[in-house]
């Protein structure tokens, strides 16, 4: 209940500032719309079914790019975390690649994969990859030794030590990485879709801009924010279930 008060309070403050800015700024309606105009634009997008189609396209792309990325990152992270000798060679490479924005690779991504569907997928893939890889590798290194003792004692051998013991044992730590990667990848979804995609929220933003429809632009921006928040909350709920099940104390991220 208190939460609801906070949220509506924040919402009202934003609306008031927005309205005042639009009134006092003296800009053309087409360049900076009022909240009302944005609402109308939002309604237009809903009626046409454009918004639903773009959300579906974006979520689909996001799901594919994100899942492919985190699956590979988890498998590689498990193996590289276990075989520390190999990781010692790859770690410097990962550390150099990690801080580079996926957008920096764009010319090469277009060169390798063309324009259209692929750049968005590849950019989401890169954005999600490193947080999950690094979280997995470091979690394997920190695993409670008692799990490995139990595994050896009960005659569990590779690859089952990794799949049956190590992976589930460190899963709460990986989940934190997954959560982090989700946020990062969502930020880059829009950027990825600006490169030649013909659908999606990123395309909607480009399209609105090209048609001087600032009302649609803001509607799209707000949609991206709300969807990102929903995704984040979903993952947080799953994460908390995992912590409870694993008997760990609730953590706040």
């Amino acid at each position: 209940m208190k939460n609801l008060i906070h949220i509506s309070g924040a919402f009202i403050i934003v609306l008031v500032i927005w309205q005042l800015t639009a009134l006092t700024g003296g800009w053309n309606e087409a360049l900076f719309p009022t909240p009302l105009h944005t609402m109308l634009g939002f309604g237009e997008l809903l009626r046409d079914g454009v918004l639903a189609a773009d959300i579906t396209a974006s979520l689909g792309r996001f799901l594919i790019g994100y899942l492919a990325s985190v699956l590979l990152a988890m498998v590689l992270g498990l193996i590289l975390g276990w075989y520390k000798g190999i990781w010692a060679f790859l770690n410097p490479i990962a550390q150099v690649l990690r801080p580079i924005s996926p957008m920096a690779w764009l010319p090469f991504i277009v060169l390798f994969f063309g324009i259209g569907e692929m750049p968005a997928l590849v950019i989401i893939f890169i954005a999600a990859f490193f947080p999950v890889l690094l979280a997995t590798v470091s979690a394997v290194g920190d695993i409670d030794p008692v799990y490995l003792k139990v595994a050896r004692n009960f005659g569990i051998r590779q690859p089952h030590i990794l799949t049956k013991i190590v992976f589930p044992a460190i899963f709460p730590r990986i989940a934190t990485g997954l959560h982090l990667a989700l946020g990062t990848a969502w930020v880059f979804l829009v950027a990825g879709e600006m490169v030649g995609a013909q659908s999606g929220l990123g395309f909607l933003i480009i399209d609105a801009r090209n048609n001087l429809r600032a009302d649609l632009l803001i509607a799209a921006i707000l949609t991206i924010g709300v969807l990102g928040l929903l995704l984040d909350n979903m993952v947080r709920l799953i994460e908390q279930r995992i912590y409870r099940l694993w008997g760990m104390h609730k953590r706040r991220i």
Partner: protein, 257 residues
């Protein structure tokens, strides 16, 4: 030749320039079916000795063998029970008990049957679908005991298994493990720093002291059946343990005269 032979075993750890001697020239023979308590303060090498026997650690010098064979690695024939239980939190109680059975390639229905039997033995059959985090410490350790017994091991190694439990739960579990293990004819090596615990459980108490870790004395406990913690016989054995650690006041006075 005894079932477990520990002959002139030493274990040293090196950390950079420092050498730490955890065990120094330990000799011990253990027969099948014996309940042995390794008793001593921290740093006396009791856990090191247990880890060597369980195959988790190596000797620096000397030899160890079980059933005539040298120990090279952990085996499912000899199961260790840890102080922090070592349960897998993502598995239900039942699935935890079945862990070792999976490695033995026992079919699923047979696994359920065995798990149910041992969960009943430790009184947790109603909790088989719970996760470890939902159970108390004492119940979790019971699950670990059921998991160990489920693979029908020859030896149980127990590394201060009850140290994290409250006193009453601890006493209950001591009585339970004592009767269960004697019924099932297991050989038990039990590490503890609790003198009463060792007197309740052991056939022989191996008293160890630190700097470097070695065996100071081996005390046979001539108490049979259910042990009464308040009986004169019990207190007599307890007294002798105190004497071995030089914890009796009269020892001290003698020392200073």
């Amino acid at each position: 030749m005894s079932y477990i032979e520990i002959h002139d075993v030493s274990r040293t750890y090196r950390q950079k320039d420092q050498v730490f001697q955890a065990l120094s020239h330990v000799d011990l023979q253990i027969e099948q079916g014996e309940f042995i308590c390794l008793l001593g303060p921290s740093g006396c090498g009791k856990s090191t000795l247990l880890n060597i026997l369980a195959g988790f650690d190596r000797v620096t010098e000397g030899t160890v063998s079980i059933g005539g064979k040298p120990i090279t690695a952990p085996t499912i024939r000899n199961v260790t029970i840890f102080q922090n239980y070592g349960l897998l939190p993502w598995r239900t109680v039942e699935k935890n008990v079945e862990l070792g059975l999976e490695s033995l390639h026992i079919p699923a229905d047979k696994r359920h049957e065995i798990a149910e039997h041992y969960l009943k033995l430790v009184g947790l059959q109603d909790f088989r679908h719970h996760h470890p985090a939902e159970l108390s410490g004492g119940m979790q350790q019971r699950v670990a005991i059921a998991r160990a017994l489920a693979v029908d091991p020859d030896i149980l190694f127990m590394d201060e298994p009850f140290a994290a439990l409250d006193a009453l739960t601890r006493m209950n579990l001591q009585d339970e493990i004592s009767s269960i293990c004697r019924q099932q004819h297991k050989t038990i090596i039990f590490v503890t720093h609790d003198i009463d615990e060792s007197v309740v459980l052991a056939d022989r108490i191996v008293i160890m002291t630190p700097n470097p870790g070695h065996i100071k004395a081996i005390l046979p406990v001539d108490l049979h059946g259910q042990r009464d913690r308040t009986s004169p016989d019990f207190l007599h054995v307890r007294d002798r343990v105190f004497q071995s650690f030089s914890l009796k006041p009269e020892d001290k006075t003698e020392y200073y005269i």
